[in-house]
């Protein structure tokens, strides 16, 4: 069960209409290393992971949905006052034809989201290593997005998301150590 909370995890402000950045932000929305992939990956892995790690996957998976909402809010605010001509000039002409200004689950190049981005191997170490890699790739994506804009308001929200990826990666690394410790202990007697 999930309960919706009518607020963002962290404020999202943008300084201007900017369809160019809106297009790039789709990478963090429906891209291979995006927030949708992260949320679906972690929540789905929970059912086959040892009990000691289920809480972590539940909490981080839930937080990823809050991040997804932040990215959607950025896209919404960056495009809501754009003309079709501005969208087209920013490379969102085909997006406009298919979706108007609606956001959709695809990456910055327009590839639709696919479950092939994620895995649940049923092997706890394999799954957690994938999760660590996912966090590092998402962190890098946020850095490249920050590098592409001079909008300090947008940068502020993106920096928050970048830092969260660092924390998540750290926690997943700790989870690996917890499981390794457990399996060593079992072999002792």
């Amino acid at each position: 069960m999930w309960i919706y909370e009518k607020k963002l995890q962290y404020p999202v402000r943008v300084s201007k209409c900017d369809p160019r950045m809106a297009k790039y932000l789709l990478e963090a929305y429906g891209g291979a290393d995006g927030e949708l992939a992260a949320a679906l990956r972690y929540l789905n892995q929970r059912y086959s992971i040892p009990d000691k790690v289920i809480g972590l996957l539940t909490d981080i998976g839930t937080e990823e949905f809050a991040h997804l909402e932040m990215i959607a809010t950025m896209f919404y605010k960056l495009t809501k006052d754009c003309t079709p001509q501005q969208l087209e000039a920013a490379g969102l002409g085909s997006h406009y034809v298919a979706h108007d200004r609606a956001i959709f689950y695809k990456d910055a190049s327009g590839n639709p989201f696919t479950a092939t981005y994620i895995q649940a191997k049923g092997d706890p170490i394999a799954d957690l290593y994938e999760d660590i890699a996912a966090e590092e790739k998402a962190r890098a994506t946020y850095q490249w997005l920050i590098d592409l804009t001079d909008d300090v308001d947008l940068q502020d929200s993106l920096k928050f998301l970048r830092e969260r990826e660092v924390i998540h990666s750290q926690r997943f690394r700790e989870a690996v150590e917890i499981l390794k410790f457990e399996s060593d202990r079992k072999q002792v007697f």
Partner: protein, 91 residues
């Protein structure tokens, strides 16, 4: 269809919202920390203390700016308030 967008929220709204976001961030980050450090007694105490503070902040916010939660986790005035207060991307 986009009526909520014309709602002008006052400065106090953003201040109250920010305070909620701050305390909720403490609680979220502490929770995720505790998921891998379950024996950190100080962190558990800190989480419980902030959790108590949060209940007061939420009640204050909802009294001024309406329900934050669905499914009866928040009270509503008449008429039904849930769709009338702005959505997070509209403020």
């Amino acid at each position: 269809m986009k009526e909520n967008e014309n709602l002008k929220m006052d400065d106090n709204y953003y201040k109250c919202l920010r305070r909620l976001q701050e305390i909720d961030f403490v609680l979220l980050d502490l929770s995720i920390y505790l998921d891998t450090h379950p024996f950190d007694q100080q962190a558990v105490a800190q989480l419980n203390q902030y959790s108590q503070e949060r209940q007061i902040l939420y009640k204050e916010y909802e009294k001024c700016y309406g329900p934050l939660y669905e499914f009866g986790r928040s009270f509503s005035k008449y008429p039904w308030e849930w769709p009338k207060t702005p959505w997070p991307w509209q403020v």
